[in-house]
Point group: C2
Chain length 223, copies 2
C-alpha cells in the first residue's frame, strides 16, 4: 500500500500553511510588502526557509494568497454593510464608510495590499483587488445614478477615483496620524463625506448619510 498521509499529518500540514500565511501577513502589516522576505517569514513561522517552498511554489504565489485572503475579507465586509442598508445611497455610504474604517484600522496592511510598490507579478494580483473594490463601488454608483439619486457620470472613472481619494486621504504617507479612536472616527467620517460629495450627493444630504452610517466597530479587524 502506498504511503498515505495520516489525518494528524494532514492537519499539521494545513496548520503550517496557515502559519506561513499568517506570518507573511503580519510581516506585511508591520513593515509593508518589502518586509515580506522568505527567510524572515519562515523564521516567524518557526520553520526553515526551504520549507516555505513545500507549501508555496514561489514567493509570488504566497503573496498572491495573502492579498486574496485580505481582499476577500474586506470585500465581504463592504458587501455586507452595503446590503444591509435601506437604499442605494445608504448602501453607497455604508460601502465607502466600511472600506474607510477598516482600511484605517489595519492601515499598514491595507496600504501594503492595495497600493504599495512590489514587483510586476505581484502587482497583477493586487490589481485584482483594486478592480474588485472599484467594481463593487461601480455597481453601487450605477444603481444610484439610474434612480436619479446621483447626477449622470461615468462610474468607470468615479469608482477608482473614490478608491484613490480614500487611500491617499486616509492611508497614504501624507495622511495625518489618526492616533485615537475618536480621531480615527472623525477621519473616516470626513473622508466618507468627501467621497459622497464627489459623487454628487449634496453636502447636507451627504452629512445625513454619514451620520446614519453606524460605523463598524473596529472589532472585525483586517488583520
Amino acid at each position: 500500500m502506498p504511503y498515505r498521509r495520516t489525518e494528524s499529518v494532514v492537519r499539521r500540514l494545513a496548520e503550517r500553511e496557515q502559519a506561513i500565511l499568517a506570518a507573511a501577513t503580519e510581516m506585511a502589516a508591520e513593515g509593508g510588502m518589502s518586509a515580506v522576505q522568505i527567510a524572515d517569514v519562515a523564521k516567524r513561522a518557526g520553520i526553515a526557509a526551504g520549507t516555505v517552498y513545500r507549501y508555496f511554489p514561489s514567493k509570488t504565489d504566497l503573496v498572491a494568497e495573502l492579498v486574496a485572503a485580505v481582499a476577500g475579507r474586506e470585500l465581504d465586509a463592504m458587501k455586507a454593510a452595503a446590503d444591509a442598508a435601506p437604499g442605494p445611497l445608504s448602501a453607497l455610504a455604508a460601502c465607502i464608510a466600511t472600506f474607510a474604517a477598516r482600511a484605517l484600522h489595519g492601515r499598514r496592511l491595507a496600504w501594503a495590499v492595495i497600493a504599495e510598490p512590489v514587483d510586476a507579478e505581484v502587482d497583477a494580483m493586487r490589481l485584482d483587488y483594486r478592480q474588485s473594490l472599484a467594481i463593487e463601488l461601480e455597481g453601487r454608483i450605477r444603481a444610484a445614478v439610474e434612480r436619479k439619486l446621483l447626477p449622470d457620470q461615468d462610474a468607470r472613472v468615479a469608482a477608482p477615483a473614490i478608491v484613490g481619494a480614500l487611500m491617499e486621504g486616509l492611508l497614504g504617507p501624507l495622511a495625518p496620524s489618526h492616533e485615537g479612536e475618536a480621531v480615527a472616527r472623525e477621519a473616516v467620517q470626513g473622508a466618507t463625506l468627501l467621497a459622497l460629495r464627489a459623487l454628487g450627493v449634496g453636502d447636507a444630504r451627504a452629512r445625513g448619510l454619514v451620520m446614519q452610517c453606524v460605523l463598524p466597530p473596529s472589532s472585525s479587524s483586517s488583520l
Copy 2:
C-alpha cells in the same frame, strides 16, 4: 598653475549631466521607475555606466533630481494657472484641471514620479513632491473655505484625497485608456468636476467652473 576647467569643458560637463537626467526621465516615462537602471540610463545617454557616478553620487540622488525637476515644472504650471484665475474657486478649479490635464498627458511619467513603487530612500524624495502638491491645494482650499465658498472641512485631509482621486482616476492602472485628444479632455473635465464636488462645490456650480477652465493645451508637456 593648477588644472582649471576650460569653459568648453564646463559646458560639456553640464550638457552631459543634463543628458543623463534626460535619459533617466525618458526611461521613467517609458517604463516606469523600475526601468531607471544605471546601465540603461548610461547607454541611452551615450556614456559608460561608471560615468554616471561622476555626475551623481548615487542612483538615489539621480532619481531625486529627476523628481525635483518634474515636480518643479508641474507645480509652476499649477500655480500659474491658479494665479491667473479671477477668484478663489476658479483658482481651485484651474489648479486641479491643470494638474489633471498635464498628468494625463505625461501619464506614465506622472505616475512614476508621484505614486509608483520604489525603495524607501527614493520614496522620501517623492513625498516632497506629493507634499508640495497637497500643500498647494491645501492653501487654495483654505482660502475658499475662509470666504465661505466651500463648506467647513479639514483641508489637511481633503488635499491629499483630491490628489489621490485624480491619480487613481486618471493615472492608475484601472483608469480607462484615454486614447484620443477628445476622450482625454473629457476625462480631465470629469475628474475635475468630481474633485470640485468632493470639496463641496455644488454640482451645477462645479460644472460651470469646469467649463470656464480653459484647459491648458498639451503643448507644455511634462516630458
